[in-house]
Structure formats: structure tokens, C-alpha cells
């Protein structure tokens, strides 16, 4: 028995040494030569929301690799190799704050991609701002980006951008006059729903219901969707719906006989729509990235290849998240090398950024937008893409750069 204990302890010790050595070796191989530009990634990378943070991580790493393989990203004649340092927020506001403290004060990082949701962004903001950093967040709440929060940028189109465009499309194309909303019961989704309701009101749509919600983790949507389908709206909006829930809800609605339009203002996954909802999902409208062959440039195709290698497979959401690091780098280039250590110099350059969008195969420019809604240009001008699911794939039906 004593011998067994000794052997077990030794085994564990050897395993630990092996892991540490492997980690050190990996770091030794990957440590770049020359000046390094450190970029932080902060997002939820475990638990129920892991897909959001991991896509952010892989996207950032893919863009970094695209430049590192050319020797680095050039700013004022010097090539900087990009080093990506990631931290998991575990979708916990306290962990997010701690992780931001590590990135800002320990890793000395000024430029951060993430976080993914409102509360983890809000909790980390004081640390970010006090530490003189900037971040690109995928939370949606306007207050995160309005004054006095000058250091947080919105990384993608939001429901208040997309809802008016989608509902206008469905009104003109399908004659939609009445609309119902169902939302996941968390703060981000409820905010999405409220923005959608406001957009619907402004367009003159009659709102039949907007208080239906379901808990995260719900698997049986029959009770909730039965209530909504009974009201017979022309359109059902799934506010803040997760990719795993959307096909279930669509399937239930169609099985209950609903024939109208179903839409969402979040990104979705064609594979899981196909696997669970099948043909029931035909006509489903969602937000996407312009990564379809019709729109993708050579740069986007290259990015998609690298992303797929890093992540194991392509994820359409990655087409949107590619813009964060790309815009940070291009703004640093315009601002000059002083901006690497001084975010104020970066921010001063923001209004002057107007570059060719490299991700799409058409003549489209990329800049910072949002002055009308946020009061200052604190939103990345990522093209607003609306997809329609058709027989296994997502087809782009709306492509907007001015919104």
C-alpha cells in the first residue's frame, strides 16, 4: 500500500514535469523574433457559451497568422509579430474583470478583442479604461459604447442595426403586417428583443406579443410556441436565439402549422439547422457574414482556410469576427507606432480610418461608424449581411454597408 502511494505520487510528479516541459517547449518554439505586438482576447471559452469566445479566439489567431507568416504587420516601417494572449471569462462578470486585470497589468496589453456579452464587458470596462486599454466588444447594449466609454468599440452589426432592415424586407417581400417576439431570458436577448420591438413599432407593424421568454437550457418549446402560433402573426422573431435553439423552435412552429416568416438578429449555423430542422428551416432569416462564394474575396478565402485549420471547421460567425483585429491593426498603421503604447493616439486616428474592405470582392470601404446612435464613431463598419436558409445552406439576401 505504501509502495502504491509512492508510485502514484511519483507518477503524478513525472506527468507534471512532462506537461510543464511540453508547455515550455511549445512556447519556446513559438516565441517570435523581433518586436512583438501583443493582442489580448477576452471571451467565454468554456461552459454553455463557449462557442462565442472560442470563435473570437480562433478568428484573432487566424488574422494574426496571416500577418505573422509574412514576417509581421508593418507599422511605420517596422514589422511587428502579433502575439495573441487569451483569457476565458467563463461568462462570469467577476472572472472577466480579473482576466482584464491580468491582460492590462500583468501582460501589459493595450488592445483587446472581446468580451462577448454585456455584463462581462461592463464589469471589465473600469479596469480597461483605468489601464489605458481599448477593446472591441460583442455586447450590444448601447450604454457600453456611449460616452463616457470612449475606449470600447462595438465589433459587429447589432439588432438595432439589423432589425429595421430585416423587418422592412419582410414587409415588402412577404407582406408582413403583424409580428411576435420570443426571447431567451437573459439580459442580452431581452435587450435584443426590446430593440426589435422598437424597430417594429417605428415601421408601423402591429405587435401581437412581445413578452414570451424561455429559460436557457429549455428543450421543450411546444408550450411557448403554441401560444405564439395561436395568435397567427405574419412573422415570429427569435430574439437572442442560440444556434442550438433556433432549429428546435423553427421545427416546433412549423409542426404546429405556422406558415409565416421566422427570423432572428443573431448569427446561425447552417449545419445544425439542416440536422435538426431540415426543410422546416427553409426561409429562415438570420444575420451572417459575407463569406459565401458570391461575396468572399481571396483574402476572406485565405482567412477561412486558416481559421478552419485552427478551429477544425469553418463557422460563419468567424466571418464577422475577423474584422476586429484587422481594424485594430489598420488603425494602428494609420495612427503610427506611438499608438502601440498610447490608446489616445489610436482613438485620435479613428475618424480618419477609411480603407478598402479586404474581405469582400467588391468595392466597399471600411470605417468606424455609429456616430448617430452612439454619439461617436465607436462601431466597426462590418457589412450587415442577412442570410436566408435554403436547402442546407445560408444564402445572402441583404448586403448593407451603410446602416
Amino acid at each position: 500500500m505504501k509502495l502504491k502511494k509512492i508510485v502514484s505520487v511519483l507518477l503524478i510528479f513525472v506527468l507534471c514535469i512532462a506537461f510543464v516541459s511540453a508547455g515550455a517547449q511549445k512556447e519556446k518554439v513559438e516565441k517570435p523574433d523581433g518586436p512583438t505586438l501583443k493582442i489580448g482576447v477576452l471571451g467565454v471559452m468554456s461552459g454553455a457559451g463557449a462557442s462565442w469566445g472560442l470563435v473570437t479566439k480562433y478568428s484573432t489567431e487566424a488574422i494574426a497568422e496571416m500577418y505573422n507568416r509574412e514576417g509581421g504587420f508593418e507599422i511605420d516601417g517596422v514589422k511587428y509579430r502579433i502575439e495573441v494572449i487569451t483569457e476565458d471569462t467563463r461568462m462570469d462578470a467577476r472572472v472577466s474583470r480579473t482576466a482584464m486585470e491580468k491582460l492590462i497589468h500583468q501582460d501589459k496589453i493595450k488592445y483587446i478583442v472581446g468580451t462577448n456579452i454585456d455584463d462581462t464587458t461592463a464589469s471589465a470596462q473600469p479596469v480597461l479604461e483605468a489601464g489605458g486599454g481599448m477593446n472591441v466588444s460583442y455586447g450590444f447594449h448601447k450604454d457600453l459604447f456611449k460616452a463616457p466609454h470612449y475606449n470600447t468599440f462595438l465589433g459587429m452589426p447589432t439588432p438595432y442595426n439589423s432589425a429595421p432592415i430585416i423587418y422592412d424586407y419582410t414587409m415588402k417581400t412577404y407582406g408582413v403586417k403583424t409580428i411576435s417576439f420570443v426571447a431567451r431570458n437573459d439580459s442580452d436577448s431581452l435587450f435584443d428583443r426590446d430593440e426589435g420591438v422598437e424597430a417594429a413599432r417605428n415601421l408601423g407593424l402591429r405587435i401581437l406579443s412581445h413578452t414570451e421568454t424561455y429559460e436557457p437550457g429549455t428543450t421543450d418549446f411546444y408550450p411557448i410556441i403554441t401560444r405564439i402560433v395561436r395568435m397567427n402573426p405574419d412573422q415570429i422573431v427569435l430574439s437572442g436565439v442560440a444556434p442550438g435553439d433556433a432549429p428546435l423552435i423553427i421545427k416546433v412552429a412549423r409542426e404546429l402549422g405556422f406558415k409565416g416568416v421566422i427570423s432572428t438578429e443573431t448569427g446561425q449555423d447552417a449545419i445544425i439547422l439542416s440536422e435538426i430542422a431540415g426543410n422546416y428551416a427553409n426561409g429562415f432569416l438570420s444575420i451572417g457574414s459575407a463569406s459565401s462564394p458570391e461575396f468572399a474575396s481571396d483574402f476572406m478565402n485565405d482567412y477561412m482556410k486558416i481559421y478552419s485549420r485552427i478551429a477544425g471547421e469553418w463557422n460563419d460567425e468567424a466571418g464577422t469576427k475577423a474584422y476586429a483585429l484587422y481594424m485594430i491593426l489598420q488603425t494602428l498603421k494609420i495612427a503610427g507606432s506611438k499608438a502601440i503604447d498610447d490608446v489616445e493616439v489610436f482613438k485620435a486616428a479613428v475618424p480618419n480610418v477609411k480603407i478598402q474592405n479586404p474581405f469582400v470582392n467588391r468595392d466597399v470601404s471600411l470605417s468606424y461608424i455609429g456616430s448617430e446612435i452612439l454619439g461617436h464613431p465607436r462601431q466597426l463598419g462590418v457589412p450587415l449581411v442577412v442570410n436566408e436558409y435554403r436547402n442546407g445552406s445560408l444564402e445572402t439576401i441583404i448586403f448593407e454597408t451603410e446602416y
Binding site: S51, T213, D220, P223, R227, P247, E255, E275, G278
Partner: protein, 286 residues
């Protein structure tokens, strides 16, 4: 109303199957296996890959899920829990160990299977109408399979010597040991059966619901609620708890705002535990 009742019954049957594995482990080892939800998740992924991706027969894939999760259960019991229960003096430490195993499985799943949601196209499509309610055929299949499995387990426990020995361990481990029963071996097999049940329920329910690496915690919490309602460690209690939760969910979502449903459920569970701390069918000594 008929839709709500039918929904509750269908949901209750699925939940009962999920809860059975957890209550068996609790009864045998007095541990709340917080990795139960993660084992459910792994069962789902096995079906996704073996059946949906590699094209094997669904029942072969389900058997494979049961066997693989059974082996994982065996390893966990022997390598982690048995040693720990022998050495540890504090019962709450076993909870921490169980949570640790849950996190281990979740992290492994994230590495192996990635972060995306996965789904399995059901091999039966369409809807039947019964007493004014719509029932998807695949849910009917899951209902029938769950019923058969629950019945099979009850027969196994009540009518086989092995099952009776397991029941004896649940009732009084020390006395059972004194009767000459190899409780260590039986505990290991009991844990494996509990894990296999989690895997089977995950595999079955993947026909209807998506799976992803992070889903285990929600399943574990629901399973915990079910066994608390029905009586922890009591096999019929798990079935009662599963049906009660299924009905509460169905009626709750049917009649009150969705956000208040689980608030109400938790309040009812608290009230129940105040008046019946061992659950509806729980007995002192379990």
C-alpha cells in the same frame, strides 16, 4: 390543455430516464454525481458521431454509448470515488470531487468535439394528433424507448439477484457487506449502470434536441431537482420526480410567463423540502 398535458407526460418520461441514473449512484455511494449531465452529453455526442456521421445503426450506436459510458463510470468509481470515500472524513468533499469530474469531462468534450452545437436528423419525421394535441413521431419513439428502459431497469432491480443486491446496498451498505456481498464490486457496477443510463438518455434525446459541450450543467441541475423532489436514492422516486418536473415545466410554460416558470418550480421545491426534507418517496436511512 391537452397539448400541455401531453407535453408534460412526454417530458416526464424523458426526465425520469435521466434522473434514474443519478439516483442509483446516489443510493449506492451517497454521492451526487455532478458529472451526470456531462455523461448525458457524451452519450449524445457518441450518437452524433457513431450514428449520424459514421452511419451505423442507431441501436448499435446506443449500445455503444451505454458501454462506453459504463466503462467511464467504472473508471471514475475505481480511480476517484472509491479511494476518496475510503480516505475522506468530510461528506462535502465528495461533492467537490464530483464537480471536478464534471469539469474534466466538459473540458475533454470541448477539446474533442469543439464548441459548436450538433444535431441529429431524426429517422422518424412527422407529427401525430392525439386528443387535440400534436406529438412529433420522434418524441413518441423516445417516450416508448424510455418506458421500455425504465421498465427493464425496474425488473432488473426487483427480480434479479444482482439487482436485489444493489437495492440492499442502497438500503444498508454495512449490513449488506456483513451478509458477504462484495459491496465494492457491486458499487462499481452500480456506478457504471448509472453512467450508462446517463449516456443512453443523452443518446436518445439527441434525436430531438441539439448537443454541445457546455450543456451538462443544466442537465445535472435538473436531475438534481428531480431526485430531490422524488427522494434521493429511491428508484421509484426518480420516476416520480421526473414526471413532476416535466408536468411543472409544461404547465408553467403553458400558463405563466416563461421567466417565472423556474422561479415557481424552485419555490415549490423549497416548500416541499421544508415539509418533506427527504422528498416525496424518500425514507430515513436512504
Amino acid at each position: 390543455m391537452s397539448q400541455i398535458i401531453i407535453n408534460g407526460i412526454m417530458l416526464g418520461m424523458s426526465y425520469s430516464l435521466i434522473a434514474l441514473g443519478l439516483t442509483l449512484v446516489f443510493g449506492i455511494m451517497n454521492i451526487v454525481n455532478f458529472a451526470h449531465g456531462q455523461m448525458y452529453m457524451l452519450g449524445g455526442f457518441i450518437i452524433y458521431y457513431v450514428y449520424a456521421q459514421w452511419g451505423l445503426n442507431f441501436f448499435v450506436a446506443l449500445l455503444f454509448a451505454a458501454l462506453l459510458l459504463g466503462v467511464i463510470g467504472l473508471v471514475f468509481e475505481k480511480a476517484f470515488f472509491r479511494r476518496f470515500l475510503r480516505e475522506s472524513r468530510r461528506p462535502e468533499s465528495s461533492m467537490l470531487l464530483a464537480i471536478g469530474t464534471a469539469k474534466l469531462l466538459e473540458s475533454v468534450a470541448l477539446i474533442l468535439f469543439g464548441e459548436k452545437h450538433r444535431g441529429v436528423t431524426p429517422f422518424i419525421t412527422g407529427v401525430v394528433s392525439f386528443m387535440g394535441a400534436y406529438i412529433p413521431k420522434i418524441k413518441l419513439f423516445i417516450f416508448i424507448m424510455s418506458f421500455i428502459l425504465i421498465l427493464g431497469l425496474l425488473i432488473f432491480i426487483k427480480k434479479t439477484s444482482f439487482g436485489l443486491a444493489l437495492l440492499a446496498i442502497v438500503q444498508d451498505k454495512e449490513v449488506t457487506k456483513l451478509m458477504g456481498v462484495d459491496t465494492n464490486r457491486l458499487s462499481m457496477i452500480g456506478f457504471a449502470i448509472g453512467a450508462a443510463l446517463a449516456g443512453i438518455s443523452g443518446g436518445l434525446l439527441t434525436l430531438s434536441f441539439p448537443i454541445y459541450a457546455g450543456m451538462g450543467s443544466d442537465i445535472s441541475i435538473k436531475s438534481f431537482i428531480m431526485i430531490m423532489i422524488g427522494g434521493a436514492g429511491v428508484v421509484p422516486g426518480a420516476i416520480v420526480g421526473g414526471f413532476i418536473l416535466g408536468m411543472l415545466e409544461s404547465f408553467g410554460y403553458g400558463f405563466i410567463p416563461g421567466s417565472a416558470t423556474y422561479l415557481l418550480i424552485f419555490l415549490l421545491v423549497i416548500l416541499l423540502l421544508i415539509f418533506k426534507p427527504l422528498g416525496i418517496m424518500g425514507k430515513p436511512g436512504y
